[in-house]
Symmetry: C2
Subunit: 428 residues, 2 copies
């Protein structure tokens, strides 16, 4: 789960647009009630309780296999072996690096995917040794998303232990590239090129930091790195020539004149910059990174178009303001991030069932917007939710990241996840 | 000599304001004629011819002792030993690191300084081994200013060999910190704190790349590094907070609206930038370096005041445009370069004598503006010139810097330097 969501949790705030969910269609409430009251579900819960120590050991095992962006191979391989050990069918690592396997259903159900992501935000060389202090585990990536990966396996074992059958085939997926630079490459491949492309009817990502949230809205983003180029020259001798720095500055000033809607929330930032030769030189090249986000695909598209127009206008402004006799300023405009916005409507059965599963545990969930693997299926119109993976946890993306393994709150999360998955997969 | 001058030479162009000098006051022309026609001057020229190989060996020796900015100690020590070996008096390295010694006069003459600079622009670790190819020497710093340092010693030897006496005491100076980051620290110390402070009447810097130029005008500069700070925050969650990037961009856009005079030439540049946390963060801190130059101290001062006002206005603009609830944007404004502008009027005897010395060799010199050690005395009203150190040379400040040691053109340069120095020092 990207920082969008995590920062919100860390700050203890909810996004604009988040709302407490209360009303659930009686039919869906009934489905969930039937599941959680069943003997097999109770047996599964008992299995989850007994599985507690193994779950912790797997959180630790996975955390201690480094998985930096674009370097998830080792963890993917280990995860594939774990999926295989759970007796899943068609266990494999696809061309993008995603590890997956299928728990076959009895047939006739919609294809369901339950995922967690393999990658972390931490670069190679980060110390990922897990430190235990009572029920608390601390290590980079321990919560985000080792806990999700381990909870996923725990769910499989509980279903097996309780002999639960579903109509649906369920693909259990450990995907790559969820975090920043990964730009959702794992699920992008899965949904646009993978073997289950066009077949998935429901998608879950176990990637929430605390129990009371259902992420049914995907914050889309477009990120650009723009490199402004010009002829450069000596600051005194060549004074009067166009300066790419001025074009870049013009872009920022014009960009920051844009008024975006508060609802659907749409934002932008000029965030990172660099370039130049020496203090006494007109630079040849300077660059800046820009971030644009919206919970609404159309608003994001509108903002992006305006941004690109501004970049071009800035170049024109500079080329008409100063001399181009040694060359004009120009820009390389590179898309470095593209996460589609999307939304799973609160009336959709996947949201209704998840809400009922929370409520069955006495927890009224909040609906939220974030940037997660669910963005991709949401943008394709496939019902998708990001739901919790663990109880208390914090400091995601920081070196002092931690999660609490206390049995009670984590069991609650697992019960909610299991009931939700069984609700859409047609538990029998 | 800084790039201002060198780039002009490399590009084969002259600065605005450069002009061919022709008219010399007859009294000064007569002084120079008397000197160059004297038996002792002819003996000195003969000594310079015989000294050719030693001069080359000293150019090589000095070049091969690395002297990066602020790390001239080893070369300074070697140069001090060379000054000592020439029998100069009061040989020392001062507190700033300048190496110097005095050639005592017979008394009653004005104190004259003849200098070259010890430092190069090249960082530690640069390969400074000199490559010879016929009469051509190639190495970083070989011309700028090892040639000046060696020519200075050659002049001392020629005066000694010819038994030339002057009324003036002449301080021979190898100074530190002429190049970029050094910011003239060697001559700044020499003129404001050194033992000869307030006594110097004439100053020469041997720091020109080709024969036909007299630098009698010092391009002043003010350089700033401005660090813009703000509260920072998540690009989506904290959207609406002030962004230091926007304030910085505002500075650049307003700065580049300034119309500076073409004469006295006054210029500016936004040149180097950096900062920011990640593409999805409002930055806490970004920075930029700015360069301002003028051949006129008042114009430079006016430009600097306007620049500083713009920085403050940019902060205000941003603090009124977006939310300051998490903090305002502010700026650390650091002066990183301060070279005073100055001019030695063409009517001054030092210019007249130098011009006559060029003309005595059949060369009409051009008067030019540049940024050299002479800026400092010029700014204090002390007559100062930067005059050539060598014949053909180019690619200063580049790794493929070279100079030609051909005897003819280098002898001409040395004759011009010697006649000029003797003209102001009262040769007897």
């Amino acid at each position: 789960m990207s920082k969008t969501f995590l920062s919100a949790l860390a700050a203890g705030t909810l996004f604009a647009g988040s709302a407490l969910a209360q009303d659930v269609d009686p039919a869906h409430a009934e489905t969930v009630k039937r599941i959680v009251d069943s003997q097999s579900f109770k047996a599964a819960v008992e299995a989850l309780q007994k599985d507690h120590d193994r779950w912790i050991s797997e959180v630790i095992k996975l955390t201690e296999i480094p998985a930096p962006p674009f370097k998830e191979q080792e963890r993917a391989k280990a995860y594939m072996e774990m999926l295989k050990a759970h007796g899943l069918a068609e266990v494999e690592i696809d061309e993008e690096g995603n590890a997956m396997g299928v728990r076959k259903g009895t047939g006739g159900g919609p294809l369901v995917v339950v995922s967690a992501h393999l990658d972390t935000v931490f670069p190679e060389g980060t110390d990922v040794k897990v430190k235990r202090d009572g029920s608390r585990l601390a290590a980079p990536g321990v919560g985000d998303d080792s806990a999700g990966l381990a909870t996923l396996l725990s769910i499989v074992r509980a279903m097996d232990a309780a002999g639960i059958k579903t109509k649906s085939d369920i693909v259990f997926l450990g995907d790559v590239g969820e975090e920043g630079p990964g730009d959702l490459r794992g699920v992008r491949y899965f949904f646009t090129k993978g073997k289950y492309k066009d077949q998935v009817k429901y998608f879950f990502s176990l990637d929430g930091g605390g129990t009371p949230t259902i992420t049914n809205c995907g914050v889309g983003s477009k990120r650009y790195r723009v490199t402004y180029k010009g002829p450069g020259g000596h600051s005194f001798q060549a004074f009067g020539l166009v300066n790419p720095m001025t074009a870049m500055a013009q872009t920022v000033v014009e960009f920051y004149k844009i008024q975006t809607p508060a609802n659907p929330k749409t934002t932008y930032a000029a965030s990172v910059t660099g370039g130049g030769t020496s203090v006494n030189s007109i630079p040849n090249e300077v660059w800046m990174e820009f971030d644009m986000r919206s919970v609404d695909a159309k608003e994001l598209d509108r903002l992006e178009k305006r941004f690109l127009a501004i970049v071009n206008q800035s170049l024109e402004t500079e080329n008409f303001a100063r001399s181009t006799k040694e060359g004009s300023v120009s820009a390389d405009i590179k898309l470095i991030g593209d996460r589609p916005a999307g939304r799973t409507d609160e009336k959709q059965d996947i949201v209704q069932i998840a809400t009922a599963a929370f409520q069955a545990n006495g927890i009224p969930p909040a609906y939220e917007c974030a940037s997660t693997d669910s963005n991709m299926p949401m943008s394709l119109g496939i019902p998708a939710l990001t739901i919790p993976r663990t109880g208390k946890a914090d400091r995601f993306h920081a070196l002092d990241e931690w999660m609490d393994t206390d049995p009670q709150s984590n069991l609650t999360v697992k019960k909610i996840v299991l009931a939700t998955v069984l609700g859409v997969a047609g538990a029998q």
